[in-house]
């Protein structure tokens, strides 16, 4: 009590006589001073809570940024027509408005600026970025419009936003459509007719695609198989042997049949295409320049200013569906990301399949079998340090060791007929998964070791006293009990592996993979194929594409998808873990 009263008194005096010099306080307030701050309260509580709050704010801010930009990206925006003072018409989607410092282009300006204060500089002006589209006509997708140069802004109802397979979107009006000779144009063209024409065109496009990518690809595949079989026979028996000659004859017959089929299919594709080319649409930009376009090149079109909220939501949903189910186009900045989603999932699953047994077995040896001593401690420190190696180094190692050493060996042994084209001797799904497994194995080992250490010794003793061998004890008692902890490690490893990009760039991820790693050709899972990955897709679209402004929505949407994917995979793993946990912690004495 004494220190408190002293303190109160000293504070009271200070209030009553605020001019008391600090010296007098130091004499009267001796008791509270002797008692340290940390003994009287929780002075660090602000620090603890503050750092947590900062962390949460950063995560929330990041998530909000991704969610907002990602979710809003596909919602149809209105189209505006801006008349500038010089009479030019600009039509497009307004993207954003910002203030900027107009740069005057007088020559001596740069020298003057050094000496003058910033207040003498030009007044900030407003400008708006419009997505004007029509890249084939204007050679640019986006245009800045100065607020001061705008005469008037309008939202005409007949303006269409047309998404095309090539050249990006078109912003303009529909003049007419030509359905294989029957021309419908002007006011007689109803929106419904237009939409049904676009739908039919999409069906034709799918038909051509199924011939080209399905049937012709299958013929090509069989042809390649036949050629490889022949080459294999040549390598096995020698070019003079009777077996080779038999194979050669078989190959000649087979290739003749296939070539016949190929020609038929090609003719069919050609016919479909020339038929398709008769269906065209004539578009005109805001200043009246016309553009004739194949109808099947139109992915989606809508009169942006006429849409009801419901129609906008339908377009929004169809864009998401396209994203999740289609292949990319326009150098990845448009279209879907299905191959990337697929590649990421398959790679992460293979990685988990590789890392789980490897890490668990290593941790089991370290914790259950190895004699605890200096050697084991050194190994443990080494494993922890492995987690600190830059991931790109793993990539280099994966490329050198897996692809160029092991992969080249596999090629020499199993696929000599394909050389010099590498099969496993280059980056691919398998090597990517193994490289990431290597990258994440320290996480699994450390987590598993901790989970094993947390299994009570009494359980082990109980089992051993029943006459169980060490392995039986591990199998029946220790591993099941450690499983939730092992799952936690696996979750961490999967999250880390799914989001990793740098090493993958070296060992198998590509900008655009022609084929998925799983398809209907034997052996169905093609571990040697290169694949697409969401993380690399973000990097590629955001930083390597022709027009970063056009790619921006795609970057956010892809990021959103990647984060969602990781969250879903983690949620699944956490669900499994919690079910295991419930099994092992019921009651508990």
């Amino acid at each position: 009590m004494v220190p408190t009263t002293t303190k109160d008194r000293s504070e009271g005096r200070e209030e009553a006589n605020p001019r008391t010099p600090p010296e007098s306080r130091s004499t009267s307030g001796k008791a509270p001073k002797a008692c340290s701050l940390s003994a009287r309260g929780e002075p660090f509580l602000w620090g603890f809570g503050g750092s947590l709050a900062i962390g949460i704010m950063m995560i929330l801010g990041f998530m909000t940024l991704i969610l907002w930009n990602g979710i809003a990206a596909f919602y149809p925006k209105p189209l505006q027509v801006v008349t500038l003072r010089d009479g030019t018409l600009v039509a497009g989607e307004p993207i954003r408005t910002e203030s900027f410092q107009p740069q005057e282009e007088s020559p001596g300006k740069g020298d003057k600026e050094h000496g003058e204060s910033p207040s003498a500089g030009p007044i900030p002006a407003l400008r708006t970025l419009y997505r004007i589209g029509n890249f084939d006509l204007y050679n640019e997708d986006f245009r800045w419009v100065l607020e001061s140069s705008v005469e008037k802004t309008a939202t005409p109802p007949d303006l269409f936003f047309v998404e095309r397979l090539e050249w990006g979107p078109f912003v303009g009006t529909v003049q007419s459509i030509d359905l294989a000779g029957s021309q419908i144009g002007g006011p007689s063209l109803s929106t419904n007719e237009l939409y049904s024409a676009v739908e039919q065109a999409a069906e034709r496009r799918a038909g051509i695609r199924s011939v080209e990518r399905g049937d012709i690809a299958a013929v090509n595949y069989e042809m390649e198989e036949a050629r490889l079989a022949l080459k294999k026979a040549g390598l096995k028996y020698g070019p003079r042997s009777p077996e080779y000659q038999a194979a050669e004859k078989g190959y000649a017959d087979r290739s003749a049949v296939l070539a016949e089929r190929y020609r038929a299919l090609e003719a069919r594709a050609h016919e479909l295409k020339s038929q398709d080319a008769k269906f065209t649409i004539t578009l005109a930009d805001v200043s009246g320049r016309e553009k004739v376009q194949k109808l099947s090149d139109v992915v989606r079109m809508y009169p942006a200013n006429l849409l009801s909220v419901f129609q906008k939501l339908r377009i929004y949903a169809s864009r998401w569906w396209e994203l999740l189910s289609q292949e990319p186009r326009e150098a990845n900045t448009e279209g879907g990301i299905m191959p990337a989603i697929f590649g990421t999932c398959v790679m992460t699953i293979f990685m988990a399949l590789a890392v789980a047994p490897f890490g668990v077995v290593a941790a089991l040896y370290l914790r259950e079998y190895a004699r605890q001593g200096r050697m084991v401690s050194a190994v443990r420190i080494g494993i922890n340090n492995l987690a600190g190696i830059p991931s790109i180094v793993y990539g280099v190692f994966g490329l050198g060791f897996f692809a160029y050493m092991i992969g080249a060996g596999i090629d020499g042994l199993l696929f000599p007929e394909r050389l010099p084209n590498p099969t496993y001797g280059t980056g691919g799904l398998l090597w990517s998964s193994l490289t990431l497994a290597l990258l994440t194995v320290p996480v699994v080992i450390v987590a598993t070791e901790e989970a094993l250490a947390a299994v009570p010794q009494s359980s082990r003793e109980g089992s051993l006293a029943c006459g169980a061998s060490k392995w039986q004890t591990v199998k029946y008692i220790v591993l099941p009990r450690a499983m939730p902890g092992i799952m936690t490690g696996l979750i961490l490893a999967m999250a880390r592996g799914a989001g990793e990009v740098a090493p993958l760039m070296l060992v198998g991820v590509v900008k655009l993979a022609p084929e998925l790693p799983i398809d209907h050709f034997f052996p169905y899972i093609h571990l040697e194929r290169s694949f697409m990955h969401l993380g690399f897709h973000i990097y590629d679209v955001g930083f390597q594409s022709r027009n970063s402004e056009a790619a921006k929505p795609m970057v956010f949407v892809t990021t959103l998808v990647l984060i969602t994917l990781i969250a879903v995979m983690n949620a699944a793993a956490i669900y499994i873990r919690n079910r295991l946990k419930r099994k092992f912690s019921a009651g508990g004495f």
Binding site: R371, Q372, P456, S458, S459, R460, E461, G462, S463, L464, A465, C466, G467, A468, S469, Q472, Y476, I477, P480, R481, K583, F584, S585, A586, G587, G588, F589
Partner: protein
């Protein structure tokens, strides 16, 4: 009628006045010493364990009674740096001899620990664990064994309706009786109990003691206990250990009423320990 031999002195000055069992001794411990790294925990312990009787090991904490018990089924092997000397013969067979199959040895002995340690599986799976590790998968045999063992452990009536529930849902006393059931399920000759009641309340303790009484005769039981009333109640012979030495080993009633050694008297009357 079992008879008490005349007091005799063997190595290390231990006093013996052991009650003989009808079937003779099952275990002969001769000059047994044990070291943890450099610290010696047992000094020249020599004793015989009578078949079919209950033998209690008492003594103050750290006197080596648990170490001795765990040496019998070689659980001390799990600890790095344990060295032993002397002999431990079970049915005339040196269990520390060369080429001994430790796992086979442990199958002949059941062990119950200080804290109940049921496995996180169903009650049946717990009891039949010793059979499972022997590779027995016949469901009928397993169910039969589980019933027999649970009846032997006086737990059958309490759990017969929930044999497939997780054993961790049982109370502490039930868990310990489940551990006893598990220990007897493997059909051992010897039951080793390491303070089986120290984590239990008096009611559960009473049930375990009744159970030990019932198991007397069927198994040779060695029980380590801190509770001297318990030792007096359940055991035929009692060994008093102090600082790693066996001080006095003999008929329980004699140990608790008229011990031959001053130290034993001091301990059983509560003057130290």
């Amino acid at each position: 009628m079992p008879e008490t031999g005349p007091p005799s002195v063997r190595s290390e000055g231990t006093i013996y006045h052991v009650k003989r069992g009808r079937e003779g001794t099952v275990m002969e411990i001769e000059d047994f010493c044990l070291w943890y790294e450099l610290a010696q925990a047992l000094f020249n312990v020599s004793m015989g364990v009578e078949k079919g009787l209950v033998t209690a090991l008492i003594g103050p904490s750290g006197c080596g009674k648990s170490t001795l018990l765990r040496s019998i089924n070689r659980m001390n092997d799990l600890i790095d740096g344990v060295k032993v000397s002397g002999q431990m013969l079970v049915e005339g067979f040196d269990i520390y001899g060369p080429g001994v199959d430790v796992i086979a040895l442990r199958k002949t002995m059941g062990m119950v620990f200080q804290k109940p340690n049921p496995f996180p599986m169903s009650i049946t799976d717990n009891v039949t664990y010793p059979l499972k590790v022997d590779g027995i998968t016949d469901k009928r045999v397993l169910a039969q064994t589980a019933e027999t063992a649970l009846k032997a452990a006086a737990l059958w009536d309490e759990v017969k309706d929930r044999l497939h529930e997780n054993a961790l849902g049982l109370s502490g006393g039930q868990q310990q009786r489940l551990c006893i059931a598990r220990a007897v399920a493997g059909d051992p000759d010897v039951l080793l109990m390491d303070e089986p009641c120290s984590a239990l309340d008096p009611v559960a303790t009473g049930k375990i003691e009744d159970l030990i009484d019932e198991l007397r005769g069927k198994y040779t039981i060695l029980i380590v206990t801190h509770n001297m009333q318990q030792a007096a109640r359940v055991s035929d012979n009692t060994a008093f250990m102090y600082l790693g030495r066996l001080i006095e080993y003999g008929l329980t009633s004699t140990i608790f009423t008229n011990p031959r050694v001053e130290k034993t008297m001091e301990y059983v009357t509560g003057r130290f320990g």
